[in-house]
Symmetry: C2
Subunit: 281 residues, 2 copies
């Protein structure tokens, strides 16, 4: 693991940092491909939205981009996690609006997944842990992640790759570490994330690709029943790309259909395009 | 600030600790009085409940108590914050159930509050930030505190000491850093915390005191209207003890009534009793 704190090689942060005390911060998980941070512009854009939502002070974006690019350059294939914290402050929830944010970068090896996942699809379960509705935090990738930690602790079976998370109204929102897409009557559907969930970077890429391919898209509330009655399903995130879903909670019946396949193929081409490889010059 | 990590004087923690990454941990804010950690048994008990809820590994309680007692001994009057984190783990939400927890202790000076607060009461506002309903996390004092951070950032007026937080059903739950009590027709009422909120140590002390004094108590859902129609109101936590409320959102009308006064007096005596001064021998 290769770590940087505010541009300096360090493997620790102050114990009084507000990330430690309150989870007061944001993060991004970036795929490094060809020693470059993939979709960096989109990641920074979401990070910027998060900063606005949490009322973070101005971020030295140029320094951050330089540090990310430099660190990504050290490995052809890796995971680069960016964490922005509100830094240290005096005791109590109140923060100093002028306190500079802390930038933490961590470069780590790409996880290993079974090679046949993309061909055969994954099995996912339905988690008992529900996502609570909090519009003020919905969509952004903040550091308050206990719901995901509890959800991921619900199963141990290595044959199950992901867990679907519902809200308290039995709507499907996302999976523990990925977003979900469904295909219904040829339309690509993904849950609305206005009250909870993380608006993933790969989710935004896939929605853009679908529009380019004239695949009809819908972002709306999705019930579990609707998810089960879909012809295709897949999950996605910045690291895994697209993983077709074969089975939800023991109910098989999904095939790796034409829409999933078209999008998976398109994603590969898109990654070679300018935007996919965007990095600061 | 006097810091300990796993019993050793240190002012930083590993950047990959799960408290930094996910807010994966718990905390307690203990009042040090007479160089002893006040209500330590109750704090450790709540910490234990939190550990169970978050599926933490067994905690070396004896070491923790020893470290807390030793650190508290360094100051007659102070704040001692205990943080338990799930420690470091590999990337991803999944945790190793056998990973040892990290103990972080911080001793800091007692905050200064205006001397007349106890006599004249405080003004509180109603926060726009709502608490989301998450029964799996309700009651425990975990490190996912962005709702409180956002709520506390809503006001800057030093004449307003606290902010009341409601859930999405317009029920009063707590204040940003304290619990709330109301007196209605001689009955002491405090909101039920089954879906959100922190079950404060001072809240539990006050409920016990009220029962000892034959004051009728009710723990139940409380609407904002009911809070406004109460004859007395006060907030409490381990540091401030009891602060009478004089005004909610500009609506004055509360007096420091007989129930509030009786409980405030009882609290002082109780602190001198065995349980109040409980500390390991």
């Amino acid at each position: 693991m290769n770590l940087r704190v505010n541009g300096v090689a360090r493997d620790s942060i102050p114990a009084l940092d507000r990330a430690v005390q309150y989870g007061d911060g944001l993060f991004e998980t970036v795929r490094v491909r060809g020693a470059r941070p993939e979709f960096l512009a989109r990641h920074l854009n979401r990070l910027g939205s998060g900063c606005q939502r949490l009322r973070f002070p101005p971020i030295p974006w140029a320094s951050l981009v330089q540090e990310v690019t430099e660190l990504a350059g050290q490995s052809p294939d890796a995971v680069l996690k960016i964490i922005l914290t509100r830094g240290q402050s005096e005791r109590g929830y109140r923060f100093d609006p002028d306190q500079e944010a802390t930038r933490l970068l961590a470069l780590s090896p790409l996880p290993h997944w079974p090679a046949d996942i993309r061909r055969h699809g994954i099995r996912i379960r339905i988690c008992e842990t529900r996502l609570c509705s909090q519009p003020m935090l919905a969509g952004i990738k903040h550091l308050n992640r206990l719901e995901q930690v509890l959800a991921r602790a619900e199963w141990d079976d290595p044959g199950i790759q992901e867990g679907l998370m519902l809200d308290h109204n039995d709507h499907v929102i996302e999976a523990t570490m990925s977003n979900i897409f469904l295909v219904r009557d040829g339309t690509l559907v993904t849950p609305a994330l206005t009250a909870c969930g993380v608006a993933g970077i790969m989710r935004s890429v896939i929605l853009d690709l679908a529009r380019q391919f004239d695949i009809k898209t819908e972002i709306r509330p999705v019930t579990l029943q609707q998810a089960r009655n879909s012809s295709e399903a897949f999950v996605c995130n910045s690291l895994i790309g697209i993983w077709p879903v074969r089975e939800i909670d023991g109910l098989a019946g999904y095939t790796i259909g034409p829409v999933t396949q078209a999008l998976a193929d398109a994603l590969i081409s898109y990654r070679d395009s300018n935007e996919g490889n965007w990095y600061p010059s």
